[in-house]
Each structure stands twice: as C-alpha cells, then as structure tokens.
C-alpha cells in the first residue's frame, strides 16, 4: 500500500486500513446495487500561529480524521461519512451511502491494487515536525519588515498556517491510492495611517512545501512584510477609478484569476454535462482569441493547486482546455468523463471526507505569447493596468464574471499613472477572451494563497498568466466620463 512518495510518513490511523477492510466496506456500500463505490479516508493534522501587535496572540492545533463513502447509481450520488473509524461506524456509513441504489446485483470483489503515484510535492522535512519557535521567528521577521518599510505603518498582522492531509482512496474498480498532501501558508496584512486616513495592504504565499520555502528570494517573510506595507502606502495616492468600458492590461501572475473565472469554471464538466454552462455544446468551437491557450496543470512542482492523485483515485495531469482559441477539453471528474465517453482528467476533488467530489480546477494557466510586456503597456492610450486582486466570481450560466482589483493604475499615453482606488472589472467570459489582443512572453505563476469555492466546498488552487491586453472590458469605478 505504501508508495515511494510517502515512505517517510509517520504512522497514522489510516495504517489500519488495508485491502480486506476496504473490500468489506465496498461490499456493504454496493449491497443494493449501484455501479461504483469509493472510500475516501482522510487524516488531516494542522497548526496555526497568529501574530499581531508584536506578539504571538494565539496558537492553534487540530486533527481531523474520517471516512467518506460514495455510491454511484447512474448519475445519482449517495454519500455518507463518519468521523469514527470503528468497523461498525464505517459499515453504517457504507450502508447509508448505498441507499441510493435499488437495482443491480451485488458487487463481485476485484483485486485491490495500490496505484503508483507521481510525486509533485516531495518535502524533505514537514513543517509540522519543526519546532513552533521556527514559525514564530518567520512571523516576527515579517512583522519587523512591514514596520521598517515606512513609519506610517501602524498595524501588522502575520499568520502562519500549516497542514498535512494524508488521503487514501479505494474504489470498487480495484484502485487504491494513498497520498500525502502538505501545505504551508504565510500571510501578512498591514494598515498604514497618514493625515487621518487609513489604507491597507496584504501579501502572502501558500505552497506544498516545508519551511525551506521561506528561505527563497521572493518568498521570505521580509518580502511579504514589505510588500503588504508597500501596497498600503502606495494606496494613499490612489484616485477614484473611472467607470465604463476601457482597455485593460493584466499584470503577469495573479491576473490568472481572470482565466479561473472567465473560462475555468465554465469548463467544469458537471455544468456542461447538465447543459447549464454558457460553454455547453461548444466543444471544437472557437471560444477565445487565437492568442489564448489555456491549460489546467496539476503537475507543477510544489504549486498550491498541484495534486498527485485526485480524490477519486485518478492520477492528475496537465490538461489542455483551450488550444489557440479553440475549446478542446473540459475539466472532468469520474461521472462526467463517463457521460462524455472520455478518460477522467484527474480533476475530481473535494474539500474533505465530509464532501463528495466535483470537477475542480488545479492550477489554471494562460500560456505565454510573443509580445514584450512593455510594448503591451505602451500600446494603450487610456486604460487600466491591473496588478493585484482580491478575488472573483462568475455566473456559470451566462458567463458574466467580476474580479476585484486591490492594486491598479491608470495608463495614459502608454505609461503607468496614478494608482486607483479598489475597483471591480466586469465582463462576459467568451466576449472578453475574444478581445484578448496581445499576450506577453512573461508567463508567471502566482504564489498567492488562492482558494476556490464551489457548491460550498473550498479547495486550494493555483493561477498564472503572462501580461495580457484586453481591448475592452467594463471598469466599475465611480468616475463617470
């Protein structure tokens, strides 16, 4: 059952789960019929440290353990979970999930074999095994850097969160996959005060790494402390944002949130199977400018959205979604892949054992183009340069999406001008992607702390893009022309 990628993992309650136990549970789950069942065991251990006003304010620690059982009968899902891994409780959950099925013969057990997994996030030493003082030291450094950046910085909050999920998936088609999924996260926010006004800024990073991450340039606590302070100070000069349609240039990196909202969600196969997405029935058609090639890539080393295996036991991968403007693939889970008659793409993810899997993004990226970023900015006579984002939202059915800018600048005569107050951009997914007129050669993967929500479930994701020019999108400011 053990694979190379977890050989150094310490014993957990999941070690007691072997193929024989799994077989009994799967038999119980499929006792009333049903085409497929899977077991999702999870053991999550996490710790968090909150630092503010120059001291460690609280320390938190928690352990969550449980089993989720799913039974598929046609397109219908039966789901149950338990937090107690006694055989009686697990069998009860299996029976409950199995209620969905009412026809078909009982399951004929198949040989359960461990699946060998890739290793996209080997960690030499888990941060959880490091002393707490090391984490406090990181926070102290971030706090000091933010305060040192400018005397107007009056408040700093720094937080460190770490966790390791050990997951074990066993499915009725004989697949058993076990993965260890670490995550560390550092986030800093700063408030600055000047002339009776206040501004705030934030910066952070989250990756599937150990503490060694924070020794790297661009990931140090000092970097994030300074960056949070810089944003807060920069915003004192902010002017009211314009309102109405304009040219917009997206900075490389976290502008990828536009991809996530404008196309990512709409290409999730559950919506397309149900014909409720504005991309339904458009496979093979042109849905974006030919400058746009979009992939969902779970294989980026240590990235926040990377997974070795999805939560249905399918090996994750790099999946092409849009090829030079043409829709070529959906983000699939098991149910949808069967519906479309394609192989699962390894995107069946869930928040925890308390949730059933859904087609979800991993790291969603717009591939690099040919243009020099400075040429892209220089080509704009009057527009907005979008640099940092708070988040976005999309309406799947019609493709309308918004995303909130927390740091952006006016562009006038090809040059960056004054910073703008917080503002939203609003557009329609396919319309905006058809208006992509320049794509930079400067692809960047955001190292931010992105979390995607869908149907009440949160999963960590990655985003990335080069510099991009959109010929026209509505800027939701207050200043009318």
């Amino acid at each position: 059952m053990q694979t190379d990628s977890i050989s150094e993992f310490s014993p957990t309650p999941l070690d007691a789960i072997d193929a024989r136990v799994a077989e009994r549970l799967l038999s119980a789950a499929l006792a009333s019929g049903g085409g497929h069942a899977d077991l999702f065991f999870e053991y999550h251990s996490g710790c968090d440290v909150a630092f503010e006003e120059g001291r460690v304010r609280t320390v938190g620690r928690g352990i969550v353990l449980g089993l989720g059982v799913r039974v598929l009968a046609g397109d219908a899902t039966g789901y149950a979970y338990t937090e107690e891994l006694s055989e009686a409780r697990m069998l009860e959950a299996a029976h409950t999930a199995g209620q969905i099925a009412s026809s078909g013969g009982a399951w004929a057990p198949v040989a359960i074999a461990a699946r060998t997994l890739p290793s996209f996030y080997p960690v030499p030493e888990l941060s959880l095994s490091r002393p707490g003082e090391d984490k406090v030291a990181l926070l102290r450094r971030a706090d000091a850097a933010a305060r040192a950046y400018d005397p107007h910085v009056v408040r700093v909050e720094a937080g460190f969160v770490e966790g390791v999920a050990e997951v074990l998936v066993v499915s009725s088609d004989g697949v058993m996959a076990r993965d260890r999924q670490p995550m560390v996260r550092l986030a800093v926010s700063a408030v600055a005060e000047a002339g009776g006004k206040r501004q705030s800024g934030r910066s952070g990073t989250a990756k599937r790494r150990g503490l060694d991450l924070f020794a790297e340039a661009g990931a140090t606590p000092e970097h994030h402390g300074r960056e949070a302070a810089r944003m807060a100070i920069a915003m004192f000069d902010a002017v009211d944002a314009p309102a109405g349609p304009m040219e917009v240039v997206l900075a490389p990196g976290e502008s990828g949130i536009l991809l996530h909202e404008a196309v990512g969600h709409g290409l999730e196969a559950d919506f397309n199977r149900k014909q409720t997405s504005n991309y339904s029935g458009q496979m093979g058609q042109k849905v974006a400018s030919e400058l746009c090639t979009v992939v969902d890539d779970a294989t980026l080393m240590h990235a926040r959205g990377s997974i070795n295996v999805d939560d249905e036991g399918c090996v994750a991968g790099r999946n092409l979604l849009i090829d030079k403007g043409v829709l070529v693939g959906y983000i699939q889970d098991r149910i949808s892949a069967r519906h479309f008659g394609v192989r699962p793409t390894g995107n069946g993810r869930r928040e925890s054992f308390r949730h059933h899997p859904l087609p979800r993004m991993t790291n969603t990226l717009l591939c690099a183009g040919q243009d020099a970023p400075e040429d892209i900015i220089a080509s704009v006579s009057r527009g907005v340069y979008a640099k940092r984002f708070a988040g976005g939202q999309v309406n799947i059915s019609n493709g309308d999406f918004v995303f909130a800018l927390t740091e952006s600048y006016l562009i006038e005569d090809g040059k960056l001008g004054a910073p703008l107050r917080g503002v939203n951009l609003i557009g329609n997914g396919p319309e905006v992607l058809r208006r992509v007129t320049m794509v930079g050669h400067d692809f960047d993967l955001s190292d931010g702390t992105w979390t995607c929500g869908k149907s009440g479930q949160s999963v960590p994701v990655g985003i990335g893009t080069p510099t991009v020019k959109i010929a026209q999108i509505t800027v939701g400011g207050t200043r009318t022309p």
């Binding site: 304010r57 353990l65 309102a243 939202q393 609003i426 939701g476």
Partner: protein, 456 residues
C-alpha cells in the same frame, strides 16, 4: 457520548464539562470547551431524478486554554478517553509557544449567563424528514418550476437540506450550558436558454427552524421560475449615476458587510472606516439596525454567547447614529468597555465577534413606493468581493432590472455599481416594509439616492 449525530444537548454539555476538568487538571489557569454534535440530510433532485442523497452525523470538540496569559486553541473529534487526556495536555503544551497577552482572559464570573431564555429553536418534526419524503418534496418543487413556464428549459435542480445540532459549552469562569436547534431549507434553481448560447439561472428558497414555517414546495418552484424567466434578454446599460433599489436578498449582502465594519475586532485592529465614528451619524436617519439573539424561532437566535455570557438585543444604529460596536470579551477589553455578548464560537477556532439576528428595521413604505423613481437600477443580486472595509471603497457586479417611472423596464446584467460605503448608507432615502426573515441577516427592500453604474 455514545454516538454522533443525535443532537443530544445534555451529552454535549457533559463532555464539555469533562474536558474542562481535564484541562484544569493538566494545569490550565482557565479553559473553555465547546462540543457540537449534529446530523444532516441533503437531497437533490434534477430533471425529476435523484442526483444526490447525502447523510451524515458529525461531532467535534474545541478547547481554549489559558496559562500565564498565554492562549492556545485546539480541536479534535477523537473522544477516546486516553486521547482526550492527551489532547488536554498537548493543548496546554501549545500555550508555551504563545506570548503573554494581558487582554486574553475569560469573562468575569458575574457576567456569565445564569438563566437560559426559551427560544423555541427545536422542531422535533425536522427529524421525521427522511429520504423518501425529501425526494417527494424536491420533485414537486422542481416540477412546479418547469411546468410554470415553457421557457424554463433546464434545471440546476431542487434541494432540501435538514440539519439538527446541539452545542454544549463549559467555562472555568463559571458556566455550563447547552442547547439544540433544527433547521430546514429548500431551494429550486431553474435554468432558461437565452440568445447567443447564454443561459439564465435563478432561484427561490424557503428556510426556517420549523418544518411548518416553510412555503409549499410548489410555491417555491413557481416563484423560482418567475424570477428566472424575468432575466431573459438581460443587457448592459450605459454608464450613469442613478438611484439604486436593493431587493431584500441583495440588501442582505450589504448589511452583512456592514456587520463587518461595526465589529469590535475590526475597530481595535483599525481595519474599519468606522473605527472613530461611534456616537456619530453613519447612515441615513431612516436606518435603525439591531442585533437580536432573543427572537423566538429565528435562525440566528442563541440563549448564550460563545463565551457563555447572557445575551441581549443590541441597538447598533439608531436613526442613523452608530450606538455601539459589537464586542466579544477580548475586543471589549481592547476598547476599554464591556462585552456586548456578541461572541461566536466554532469548534475549530476561538471566540470572535459575530452577529446573531442582524436586522435592518423595516420602514413604512410599500415596495412600489420605494421603487418609484423616474429612472434607476433595481438590484436583485450582487457579485464579487469589491469591498475594502478600511477605506469603505465599494464596487460590485450586479444583476437586476432597469426602472422607468417606477416600473421594471427590462432585465440588466454585466454592470457594476460603485460608491463609498459611507455615502451608500448615508444615502438611503427609502426603506420598505417587506422584511425578509428567512436568514439571520435580515433586510427589507431599500433605496440609495445615487450610485455609479458602470456598463456600456
């Protein structure tokens, strides 16, 4: 506790008391324990067929321990006797990593709740909703939506969720108590095909602590269909400055954001534009906002707060004047005052300021009167995260209707509204009498004199 998911309040309280004694035995100066136990059933039907049946019981324990003014917050779902003892010791151990915080302390003994008001939060009949009953209900609701209008061409389904839960809380400041509650909700989500491959989705829902308080499945379906079909042909409007009328659903999300900027936690952190504004005008004189945990059967009611304090209604804004920030014990100490008994508590985290039933008091106008503007935007849904609580800058995507001479002229989408949040609340010039009591943040229809609409 023998088994999870039975919403047995007494056994939650017993377990909380037991863990409290373990924590104190392990050397804590003070401790609080929350135990939650509950069960949920969710059934979803789509196009007449079952899509999801989800059923589970869950329980968890959250512990906050103090030692030499140092705080650790821990949680577990392992109730094995040996594991609980080890958990108490490990939690104490974790305190060493925190640093002394003179503001970190349990409430004063004399402030703890002594009597528990009967709030009528439990409906036994919620438990009688089984899978078969839920399937019948959801099928009826979805079918009603599809039958109501032939333009309803598709469906995101109909879902029924029921939840029961119990909380037991024990504090070394001299408190032990428990309560239980039930909740049911039902939603129908039709989909229509519109031009250019676009679809329009909509929803309507009913919810409450009592099964008897729910609207009939068919009525919810018909209203959902009506709301969805009304969005067909939605378009952008030209960028302009006009009055905006917010439906109770859209207004609710503005009110929830307002709850964030009057939270004592945001005030001492200087992360709200209202930090220095207590006692001053922060909204139109038409605006009165209360946070009332004592409303019988209401979704946000609670007999004691997350630190065991006796709760009471708090008038937050009275005729436009900010009367008080909402505080838990920590925020109150930071601000040199007493708690408003507004602490919430989750198993996975320490106390923090929360609202209970946060209500914008309804006005006397009819909805038609509030909507009666020559031209304006009627907002039914807000989208996105465009709110900065530190500066009050506000910009969000909206969906709704254009208003001409007080009537809905045509549906609108893909536009934003922007304003400073302070101007928005000060600019409210009409409030209707149609308070929506389905959720714990409760709002009537209201109008803001002027916002910027960005579109074409």
């Amino acid at each position: 506790m023998k088994s999870e998911g039975r919403a047995d309040a007494k056994s939650c309280q017993d377990l909380a008391e037991h863990m409290l004694s373990l924590a104190l035995g392990a050397g804590a100066d003070g401790a609080e324990v929350l135990v939650r136990d509950g069960a949920e059933l969710r059934v979803k039907v789509r196009l007449g067929e079952p899509e999801l049946v989800e059923e589970a019981g869950h329980r968890g324990l959250g512990l906050r321990v103090l030692k030499d003014e140092r705080v650790a917050v821990t949680y577990t779902s392992d109730f094995d006797a040996r594991a609980m003892r080890a958990f108490a010791e490990a939690s104490l151990d974790l305190c060493r990593l925190a640093e002394p915080d003179p503001f970190a302390a349990l409430p004063n003994r004399e402030d703890m709740a002594r009597t528990f008001p009967e709030l009528d939060l439990w409906d036994e009949s919620v438990l009688s909703i089984d899978v078969a009953f839920a399937l019948g209900w959801t099928k009826a609701g979805e079918a009603a939506a599809r039958a109501h209008d032939r333009r309803v061409t598709n469906s995101d389904g109909a879902s029924l969720s029921r939840a029961v839960g119990a909380s037991g809380f024990a504090s070394s400041a001299g408190f032990s108590g428990s309560y239980r509650g039930s909740h049911v909700s039902f939603v129908v989500e039709p989909v229509c095909d519109d031009a250019e491959g676009k679809k329009r989705n909509g929803y309507h829902y009913t919810a409450g602590r009592f099964v008897s308080s729910l609207l009939a499945a068919e009525a919810v379906g018909v209203e959902a269909a009506r709301r969805t079909v009304a969005k067909l042909g939605a378009r952008k409007v030209a960028t302009c400055q006009v009055p905006a009328v917010f439906s109770p659903e859209a207004g609710r999300s503005l009110l929830a954001q307002f709850a964030g900027v009057i939270s004592g936690g945001a005030v001492w952190r200087k992360s709200t534009y209202l930090a220095e504004r207590e006692g001053s005008r922060v909204a139109s004189p038409l605006v009165t906002i209360v946070d009332d945990p004592l409303l019988p059967r209401a979704p946000g009611s609670r007999p004691f707060d997350g630190e065991g304090l006796a709760v009471r209604p708090n008038v937050v804004v009275s005729e436009g004047v900010l009367r008080t920030f909402l505080c838990d014990v920590y925020a109150a100490r930071k601000l040199g005052r007493t708690s408003t008994a507004s602490a919430g508590r989750r198993v996975g985290g320490g106390p923090h300021v929360t609202t209970s039933n946060f209500i914008l008091r309804p006005g006397k106008s009819s909805v038609a009167q509030v909507r009666d503007v020559p031209r304006g935007l009627y907002v039914t849904d807000l989208m996105g995260f465009g709110f900065n609580p530190v500066t009050g800058d506000f910009s969000q995507g909206v969906v709704g209707f254009w208003i001409e001479n007080g009537e809905r002229a045509f549906p609108v989408s893909e536009v934003t509204i922007s304003a400073n949040f302070d101007d928005l609340w000060q600019g409210i010039d009409a409030i209707a009498d149609d308070l929506d009591t389905r959720a714990s943040v409760q709002c009537p229809t209201f109008r803001v004199a002027r916002v910027t609409v960005a579109g074409l």
